[in-house]
Amino acid sequence: MFKAGVCAVTGAVLATFLAGQADAATKLTIATVNNGDMVRMQKLADDFTTKNPDIELEWVTLEENILRQRVTTDIATKGGQYDVMTIGTYEVPIWGEKGWLVSLNDLPSSYDVDDLLPAIRGGLTVNDQLYASPFYGESSMVMYRKDLMAKAGMEMPKAPTWDFIGKAARAMTDKENEIYGVCLRGKAGWGENMAFLTAMSNSFGAKWFDMDWKPQFTGEAWKKTLGFYIDLMNDAGPPGASSNGFNENLALFQSGKCGMWIDATVAASFVTNPKDSKVADEVGFALAPDAGLGKRGNWLWAWSLGIPAGSQKTDEAKKFVSWATSKEYLALVASEEGWANVPPGTRTSLYENPEYAKVHFAQMTIDSINAADPTKPTVDPVPYVGVQFVAIPEFQGIATSVGQQFSAALAGAMSVDEALESAQALTERSMKKAGYIK
């Protein structure tokens, strides 16, 4: 029995080894994240291959962090494993600057590059070259429960302040019944709690670096930001907030345990989908809060398709990129799956479409995107680009370590001052090592 098993397996192994692959068509290997919109693109890709029978698509779908690690290693070492890469607004300025990406300025006129939302296009352009084509764009906003807000006797303004959020969160909280006024990210990571906190700090007038690249964590503004966040979460947040990322908060909100949630605009389509969400009918939206300093605490991100320089299949790759990010693709999704499922946040024409305007989070999404400016993210001038990140290669590592300090402060393992001091110290260390400061 056992021997037979071994034989069978060995046979299968050999057979697969020997099975050669002979392909006439050009094969494009596409690396994407496993977010809903990308998965949908994969399903609809038949439309592309029917129109381009000489191109075959090979998908590598990975979780965001693993994907980033894979494509970065590959492009930096010129490994050449991918022909199209899904990358974000953090990577594009850095990689474009280095000449690692193929310029997309020569896409056909039907692509209509001027239709792209200016904020998004700006984030993907380096020295007047568009280095990646946006697939979907997102900002962040407040999602709240209308019923709980009414029960607390308050009304959400279209553009709330942090003070209002603080009051409302505490009024909505009912820990006995597992209702927590506000759910915010707390899990350490540059794309987790630091995305939220960096965007939030912008509205409090804080910044990562001054014009001489000196870290600014010991300043008053960061102290206010972190202090406000931690008090708020202690009073009105869910237990275990220090390990909550997007997913955990989504689960909490969908199961009716959060009064408010400030997070990515793409979450709107999840929480209003009655199939997955218990509170689908009760969700309202508002702009991310401000503190009266002229900046709101919302971020800007666009998952985009880029082509690594040195790819042998640049022409085919361009064909694919312009298909996936075209107006026709948006129309295709709308006809197959409805307007609510169209990848949002990339094109002006989408928001001028009366059909799309009926989707009730559309307006708030575009307003949020327009309220973010990656080139002028903070109240004071800064030497860097990026709203919820700083577009330098060292940022991922530094922000993840800083995120650990802040999540420790949230868990109660250290005080706000201690967290900020150690954030300052470790950022200074890394910036010194990288040669930004002496």
Binding site: P239, Q404, Q405
Partner: protein, 290 residues
């Protein structure tokens, strides 16, 4: 006893393995050592330069380093403690006659087959989550406040997850050893009126000592490089509460893409692992010689 002829043959038979492992070790290791003296960030190619020991200094003075060192030892020690005590207990239990022993054994060894990422995801989301997790529901059912495992006992939680994966391994080895115990000796001890307790400490445990050292050796090798479980559950936090050396090296090389710093960290990890190895080998050597 062995002839020259067979000695030469033996050398020939060992050499492929030795050469391959030597190559596998020496080539990447020397590249890593070389990189560790460079200022080399993957994202800034073309700017590599020799900077001497700066990377080492940077890694060793990192406030996270000593925390990570301590965590590594706690993690390895904690898992070993649970798996060995638990393994001996389970082996004793499984060694007794019962109904459905085969099925019970199947149930108990199952966790060993689960991929680390999968088990970390399952534990984190479906068990330890303080709101939606099963432990939280259980706590509420019992009328106590749910405990927030990953925030307030992050390292302990990781230890639990890893111990769950490795408990079957130690149980199996210890059970195999247990079954080879001389029953007559045990019966004789029983006749002499030795209490259960005494029988366990004077006959069973000494008999198991070799198996226990084997479990310690093999598991330590794997436990020193635990990484996926931490990445999935706590990201090394809060603070540095669950950062181990491997995770620290990961943060350096794959988050920061600082190949120089990551290489220095890697070399330090190798040195530390070898210190542990020397201790282990001493212990094992003694125990396995007999």
């Amino acid at each position: 006893m062995a002839t020259d002829h067979s000695r030469i043959a033996a050398r020939l038979m060992i050499s492929p393995a030795v050469l391959l492992l030597l190559g596998w070790m020496v080539v990447p290791l020397s590249m890593t050592i070389y990189f560790s003296f460079l200022s080399y960030n993957l994202l800034s190619p073309g700017t590599e330069e020799w900077i001497g020991l700066v990377n080492y200094e940077f890694f060793l003075t990192d406030p996270a380093f000593f925390a990570a060192l301590g965590n590594t030892l706690l993690l390895v020690g904690g898992v070993l403690l649970i798996t060995i005590v638990g393994g001996v207990g389970l082996a004793l239990l499984l060694d007794q006659p019962m109904w459905g022993q085969g099925i019970v054994r199947i149930l108990m060894i199952a966790p060993f087959f689960v991929m680390p990422t999968v088990s970390a995801l399952v534990w984190k989301n479906m068990f330890m989550n303080p709101v939606n997790g099963l432990f939280a529901h259980l706590a509420k059912f019992l009328g106590v406040a749910p405990f927030d495992f990953l925030a307030h006992a992050p390292l302990f939680s990781v230890v639990i997850i890893v111990a769950w994966q490795w408990l079957p391994f130690s149980t199996l080895i210890l059970l195999t050893a247990m079954q080879s115990l001389d029953q007559e000796q045990l019966e004789a001890a029983k006749m002499d009126g030795a209490k259960k307790f005494r029988r366990f400490f004077h006959i069973v445990l000494p008999h198991l000592s070799r198996a226990i050292t084997v479990v310690i050796l093999i598991q330590t090798i794997f436990l020193l490089s635990i990484f996926a479980e931490i990445l999935v559950t706590t990201n090394g936090g809060p603070g540095y509460a669950s950062t181990n050396i491997t995770y620290l090296v990961y943060a350096q090389s794959l988050l920061q893409f600082d190949v120089g710093g990551g290489s220095a960290g890697g070399i330090i990890a190798v040195i530390l692992a070898n210190i542990v190895a020397v201790f282990l080998m001493r212990m094992i050597g003694k125990n396995l010689e007999a």
